[in-house]
Symmetry: C2
Subunit: 199 residues, 2 copies
């Protein structure tokens, strides 16, 4: 005999598939949602649906946006001579929060990681090089994470980009090594932007 209603078991199951959410947390979230007004649960369901149905990747920088090109790429007031290369869309947010950076972005969607089988072809590297060939870019700021994969990716990119002409810079070593860019506080990130250096 089943002692748990199927829709309850199913939601616990779906929550458990999310990263960092174990079965206990999944149960807690599910039973919390059973108690809240129907509108809140449906608002979350709708938000999930819209996330997939109303977002696209910007065809220029590959950031997540509602339309392509994204608001940053189509903003004429941004400095088009500098491109900041990041691993994930969340990293764009982190840098935007500093209000220090006025250039464009390029989202790689990952970092080179032989262990995880992620090579340069899995990332938006080819697209970055095409951008650099087509546009007048004076500086490429490599803002990959200050960890092993991020450093390796930055080294790899520096080698490819330098012959194309732009100055290649890296966020300053104000960031805690081994950390994750998106968790950096704004002051640290601002310092890292100010202190960027030639590679």
């Amino acid at each position: 005999m089943r002692t748990i209603a199927e829709p309850v078991a199913r939601l616990i199951d779906e929550f458990s598939r999310l990263p960092g959410i174990g079965p206990k947390t999944a149960s807690r979230l599910t039973f919390y949602l059973l108690r809240v007004p129907k509108e809140q649960a449906l608002a979350l369901a709708d938000a999930l649906r819209e996330l997939k149905e109303r977002t696209v990747f910007c065809s220029i920088c590959f950031n997540i946006a509602e339309a392509s090109p994204c608001p940053i790429c189509s903003d004429e007031s941004r400095d088009r001579s500098i491109i900041c290369v990041v691993e994930e869309p969340l990293d764009v947010l982190a840098i935007e929060r500093t209000r220090e950076y006025k250039g464009l972005y390029h989202v790689l969607h990952g970092a080179i990681s032989p262990v995880e089988g992620i090579g340069p072809d899995e990332l938006k590297i080819h697209e970055l090089l095409e951008r650099l060939k087509a546009e007048q870019v004076k500086e490429v700021l490599l803002a990959t994470n200050p960890n092993l994969e991020g450093e390796a990716t930055a080294m790899y990119l520096a080698r490819l980009i330098t012959p194309l002409g732009p100055r290649v810079t890296r966020l300053a070593r104000g960031l805690p090594v081994g950390g994750d860019l998106e968790y950096a506080d704004e002051v640290t990130l601002t310092r890292a932007l100010e202190g960027r250096r030639e590679m």
Copy 2:
């Protein structure tokens, strides 16, 4: 200018409303869902919708179920002479997992907590008393949480139920199995001493 797509911001926002999920975790979950196949995100959305649309409270025990009465209340093989009173539907699951208990349940949907403004009228206490008056119940096992609110609720219920006739019992307090004596808090150890039994 908005640097985050509205559907992304909205889902982060909805996730943040869940208990124990801060803005950082909400962001991580959202960007994780951006990367997974559309089907997984929609499966979660559907599970949320069905949780609200395909579950009801059992009209007898107030547990969550797909139909009322719930499978436990309608199971003729269960012992109808004992009712186990718990705070939440999750507690029913916990007790069912032991496979030790064969009686019925009553879910209060909370505990008495003057601090949070939860009095007896907010709980399914009136409904429990009506059940006890209408049915032949020999024992009421009070399985509210072993904390301040749970104890207060158990005391309150014991005073109301005793005059109606059933034996009123409470889950034993003592050392958790697999635990370490030296890590037990004083209150638990005191209860374990008080409740010591012949071997």
